[in-house]
């Protein structure tokens, strides 16, 4: 230990002695590290945004329980795809008392036409669980990453609407569909009377295939957060949608876990319980293609770019470090020769250079980390609006930090530095002490 501190002191002094070159090397390291952190920070933000969006805002839960293919089949084959009352009771019993489960929600989807005056439009109505809406408002992930999509004011509005108009269905269209509802009837549609503000008709089919029709009212907009879905999705409370298609069945159950770490065990337990109950059910996580297509697609796409970027930058940084360390070690050939002549074993000399390199790397990484965090904070405070692909409208440009990602990148840099200095010093120490002492320090 004593020897280590002695080497550490010597390494620090050496770093100061070549302060100019080390500063430049440090700047190269720090800037590339902070660059990579900012880049991956953006990818991390997308992951967190889409995860909160998929799990809570679009109410797919961490786990989604349905009949096999039930998520899709509920739109065209509701009679066979929906979960009946007795099945619902069994599912609820399975989940009851699980300490890792935060909440359980119900979901239902149906295709319908919304008719405003004489204009109609086919949409997919997604039934939202009001309990999950209230729960989402208190979720740290939602509050932190998807807060712009939250509409807390809609909860009291819905409660009041239920008292005033118990027979009408409540509808929360996307902003794009709200434009369709708000549009005035054109002159060529003469004969179509303009309905009261927000009032519309819903036309679809019940689970038995009969025509379903009711009056509805748009109570406020709710974006899915995703551009392509906003074109064709309206939200409704699950109860209103059940009443509309005349059923007490639901399309699926959503399970919300307290911690992501508990997800595998909850998933496994649930799988075993379902198997034991004899129910024909499918349990899918939020990162499966059927449930979170946008989540896995976008994260996969950005992840590919980020991996490519990290690979390229690491190789350039590695080569630069190798070249800079080669120069630095070569310049100090005489010093290495002197240490060898004084009886220092090769191992100690290698350690000295390794400690120097690691120290320089750690200092640079620390600086790079501070710069990245500072810039990330500055970017957030500037409230920059931007429109990433796939997301509806624009959003607040944010950089998010994930400690394990930072540690992995930092360790990669450290490894690259360590390997570079190790190769250079080992090669140099293959020469004799005399030859090193005569070395003029040229390459």
């Amino acid at each position: 230990m004593k020897r280590f501190f002695w080497l550490l002191r010597l390494a620090s002094l050496n770093l100061l002695r070549n302060s100019k070159r080390n500063l430049i090397t440090g700047i190269a390291l720090a800037s590339s590290f902070s660059g990579i952190l900012l880049f991956t920070g953006y990818v991390v933000w997308v992951e967190k945004y889409l995860r909160a969006n998929t799990v809570f805002v679009n109410q797919s839960g961490h786990l989604l329980i349905s009949r096999p293919n039930g998520l899709e089949d509920q739109l065209t084959k509701p009679r066979t795809a929906l979960l009946k009352k007795d099945e619902q009771e069994k599912i609820e019993a399975m989940l009851k008392g699980d300490a890792d489960v935060l909440a359980v929600g119900k979901g239902l989807q149906s295709m319908m036409m919304i008719i405003k005056d004489c204009r109609s439009r086919g949409v997919i109505a997604i039934g939202r669980d009001e309990g999950i809406d209230r729960l989402s408002l208190g979720q740290p992930d939602v509050l932190k990453w998807d807060y712009e999509l939250l509409k807390p004011e809609q909860i009291p509005v819905l409660a009041k609407f239920r008292q005033v108009s118990p027979k009408e269905a409540a509808v929360f269209p996307s902003p794009i569909l709200q434009k369709f509802i708000d549009r005035k009837t054109s002159s060529k549609q003469a004969g179509c009377e303009e309905s009261a503000n927000g009032s519309l008709q819903l036309l679809g089919r019940t689970t038995t295939g009969e025509v379903a029709a009711t009056d509805g009212r748009a109570l406020g907009t709710q974006s899915t957060g995703l551009a392509i879905l906003d074109e064709r999705v309206i939200y409704m409370p699950v109860k209103d949608l059940q009443t509309f298609i005349e059923t007490d069945s639901v399309g699926y159950y959503t399970v919300y876990v307290k911690s992501l770490l508990a997800l595998p065990s909850v998933w496994k337990r649930l799988h075993e319980d379902v198997k034991a109950s004899g129910l024909d059910l499918q349990i899918q996580p939020f990162f499966s293609e059927n449930v979170g297509l946008y989540y896995i697609g976008s994260v996969g796409f950005l992840g590919t770019i980020a991996a490519f970027f990290v690979l390229l930058v690491s190789s350039v940084v590695g080569l630069s470090l190798f070249s800079l360390f080669s120069m630095s070690v070569t310049e100090r050939s005489m010093e290495i020769g002197l240490l060898a002549a004084l009886g220092f074993p090769a191992k100690i000399v290698i350690w000295l250079f390794e400690i120097e390199a690691v120290l320089l790397c750690l200092l640079s990484l620390g600086t790079g980390l501070l710069v990245a965090i500072g810039l990330g904070d500055l970017i957030f405070k500037q409230n920059i609006r931007f429109s990433p692909p796939g997301i509806a409208g624009d959003t607040h440009f944010t950089i998010a930090w994930e400690p394990w990602v930072m540690v992995v990148i930092g360790l990669t840099f450290l490894l690259v530095s360590y390997v570079s200095i190790r190769i250079v010093t080992v090669l140099k120490l293959k020469r004799s002490a005399l030859s090193l002492l005569q070395d003029a320090g040229t390459l």
């Binding site: 430049i24 090397t25 700047i27 190269a28 800037s31 590339s32 660059g35 990579i36 900012l38 880049f39 899709e72 089949d73 739109l75 065209t76 084959k77 295709m111 036409m113 004489c118 204009r119 109609s120 439009r121 086919g122 949409v123 794009i176 369709f180 549009r183 549609q189 004969g191 295939g209 551009a227 392509i228 879905l229 074109e231 064709r232 297509l293 946008y294 697609g297 976008s298 996969g300 796409f301 590919t304 770019i305 970027f309 390229l312 930058v313 190789s315 350039v316 080569l319 630069s320 070249s323 800079l324 080669s326 120069m327 310049e331 429109s387 990433p388 692909p389 796939g390 040229t442 390459l443």
Partner: protein
């Protein structure tokens, strides 16, 4: 006439580069790998852009220019290019026939389709089948994953996700083959069944009238986006107009024979001269291609970011190396100055050395990049990209213009770094240099 001094400096520079080959090798390697990294990253982004361009202009038949009513938005079920406006446009198309390769008329149609007990809402398009095939070119003329493309009125093709919902059965594998730009379909009729393959298509006209027609499903297609695919249907323009009881159109796509910029100008002039309440929009500025613009915008930010980081590292490394070279050759600089070389000539000498090593490094980097791109493109690695329904190949487009601009940036950074290092040494006096 040759300048003997230039010759001398060039010879000296090459000799010096060879004499200090280890330094030169370091610079060459850094330049090479820098070029490889930046060129490949930009080449990858270019390929992503190519894939989107191919998807919208060719596969989705947008062509290069879209003509539609002013203030058209997504909520318009029935387009609004009236019969008179279409007649007027036909005159223009006839006049400018030499500069137009294809004209495709489109009408948005939505409603409900029923197959026995199964039914679903649909969103779709009616279009000119023959000119649509022309605009899709050879690569996408076959656009059916099962069955075959549309050939005649009375036929429909369904999005394959919608077909699955309607209990259609088909082989969801073995329909793709690699092509120049991603993948294309194998032009072969593959069997499928959708009940009796006869569906009842119902729509609501703008007068609130419900109209329906029995149509034959001849094929299944993939629109590219799964959520769109879930409700997608295509039919002939005559069927669409007949169902909706209209002669109007939602938009007209044009594919230019030569320059699309000139054609766009001509269309705009014609619309203005004839006071037609229509707008002509290039495909990449249209609202339907918002995803393309956003993706490319994001990728451009990434590109600038990567370029800044990597050229910064290359610049710092070259500066460090040059500083070392110059400080080691301080005496040589002093000697050259004492025999009459002025600062400008010495600067030229080092500049020539820097250019020499940079060119070598960039050449090696270019050869490595071409090899890397070739291997990456041949491997055909597939990955999920955003909201696209099919995986896309990881590919790189090593375009020459990207090489030139990247090489110029890196070469410039290297030369500036070298000059900065040399200028510092030249500030010293001859005696200081010789000592």
């Amino acid at each position: 006439m040759k300048n003997p001094m230039t010759d001398t400096i060039s010879r000296l520079a090459i000799a010096n580069s060879l004499a200090h080959w280890r330094y030169s090798l370091s610079t060459i390697l850094i330049m090479g790998i820098g070029l490889l990294s930046i060129w490949m990253f930009r080449g990858y982004m270019l390929k992503v852009g190519d894939l989107y361009r191919d998807h919208f202009t060719v596969r989705s038949m947008f062509g290069e220019i879209l003509i539609e009513p002013e203030n058209a938005d997504n909520d318009d079920k029935i387009g609004g290019i009236t019969g008179n406006q279409q007649q007027s446009l036909q005159t223009f198309f006839a006049q400018d026939a030499d500069s137009i390769e294809a004209v495709v008329r489109f009408l948005k149609v939505d409603g409900q389709i029923t197959f026995g007990a199964e039914n679903s809402l649909f969103d779709g398009l009616a279009y000119d089948i023959t000119s649509g095939e022309k605009i899709r070119s050879e690569k996408w003329s076959w656009n059916a994953v099962a069955g075959r493309p549309l050939k005649a009125p009375g036929e429909i093709v369904l999005g394959r996700a919608m077909a699955r919902l309607l209990a259609c059965e088909f082989d969801s594998e073995h329909y793709l083959e690699p092509s120049d730009n991603g993948h294309a379909y194998i032009a072969k009729e593959r069997p499928f069944t959708c009940g009796s393959n006869e569906g009842q298509v119902s729509v609501v006209t703008d007068k609130g009238q419900i109209r329906s027609q029995s149509m034959k499903v001849v094929g299944l297609m993939d629109v590219g986006f799964r959520d769109l695919d879930r409700t997608w249907m295509m039919m002939d323009i005559q069927d669409g107009q007949l169902l909706l009881k209209t002669n109007e159109l939602s938009w007209i796509s044009l594919k230019a024979r030569g320059s699309s910029v000139k054609l766009l100008d001509d269309v705009r002039v014609y619309l203005a001269e004839h006071r037609l309440p229509l707008v002509a929009t290039p495909w990449d500025k249209h609202r339907y291609t918002d995803l393309y613009r956003r993706t490319m915008g994001l990728l451009r930010v990434f590109e600038v970011f990567v370029l800044s980081i990597l050229s910064g590292i290359v610049g710092i490394s070259v500066f460090n190396l040059m500083s070392k070279i110059v400080s080691e050759r301080r005496r040589e600089i002093g000697l050259l100055r004492s025999v009459g070389f002025n600062s400008r000539k010495i600067l030229r000498l080092f500049l020539t050395e820097s250019i020499f090593t940079s060119i070598l490094g960039l050449s090696i980097g270019a050869a490595a990049s071409l090899g890397f791109a070739n291997v990456a493109n041949r491997l055909g690695i597939l990955y999920k990209a955003g909201i696209l329904s099919e995986p896309v190949p990881f590919a790189i487009n090593p375009e020459l213009s990207l090489f030139v601009s990247t090489a110029l940036i890196l070469g410039g950074v290297s030369i500036i770094a070298s000059l900065t290092a040399v200028r510092k040494a030249l500030r010293k006096t001859v005696i200081e240099c010789l000592m």
